[in-house]
Amino acid sequence: MAMKNRDNYIKLEFSSLPENVALARVLIASLVVQVDTTITDLEEVKVAVSEAVSNAIIHGYQNEPNNIVNIEAKIVAGELEIVVEDSGIGIEDVEKAMTPTFSTHPDRMGLGFVFMKSFMDNVEVLSEIGKGTKVVLQKKLVNDGSCARVAT
């Protein structure tokens, strides 16, 4: 197939609706399958994106639907970088927030950042109280011509 593994860039802005978590996930998956990567890589990226976007909606905007979440993704030389950004309440103590099982919600497991960290090569969180949160996720995509087509 022509034109695989080219550099690519996308940026999506969307309402902070729970349904849009799937939308962001599908979009990023469509981007990742353009690279001949493994199904495992694809699955891992989907979970990480789902966690970051869910956090923006649930925590950042406290489920208020009339806000905007931003997701930017680029692939440069097989290196994927995703930035998820909200202008919500922000995180007081990022280190504490990233501790496994820590959650400010009683119903939640505190595994969001754990999954982001296990499934991506690098996770960076920038947050300011009252201003919002920016999560940068990076991953080198494994090039595997034998598997990618299955996932399209």
Binding site: R25, E43, V47, S50, E51, S54, I58, R108, M109, F115
Partner: protein, 112 residues
């Protein structure tokens, strides 16, 4: 999508699609509404048709486990696909909720 069936003392819940925060909410509300009126002995969660799960989905599963435990019942999970099984495993849920392979599903897959 969340489909429920009550069979003897068991509540069978079949989820289809991506078990993220949207379906997790559906799942939580559907199960809780039934169990509040009528405590049951078993909660069987059929994940055969689940293609994706994240921590919101896991949280809803763990929450229903706690609820049925409180009511003196048991919970089990059926037919998770490898990618879903992996996330269940990583979360530690497999250590507290037994997971079975759905045999019917295995046969179907072999024939596919």
């Amino acid at each position: 999508m969340v489909i429920v069936k009550i069979k003897n003392e068991s509540l069978i819940v079949k989820i289809s699609g991506d078990l993220d925060l949207v379906i997790a909410k559906d799942f939580r509300e559907t199960v809780d509404k039934i169990l509040v009126d009528r405590p049951l002995k078993n909660l069987i969660l059929d994940l055969t048709e689940v293609n994706f799960i994240d921590s919101s989905g896991l949280g809803a599963i763990l929450g229903r486990y706690k609820l049925i435990q409180q009511q003196g019942g048991k919970m089990s999970i059926w037919g998770a696909k490898p990618s879903v099984h992996r996330i269940l495993d990583l979360s530690g849920i497999l250590k507290i909720i037994p997971v079975f392979k759905n045999e019917k599903n295995i046969i179907e897959k072999r024939e596919a």
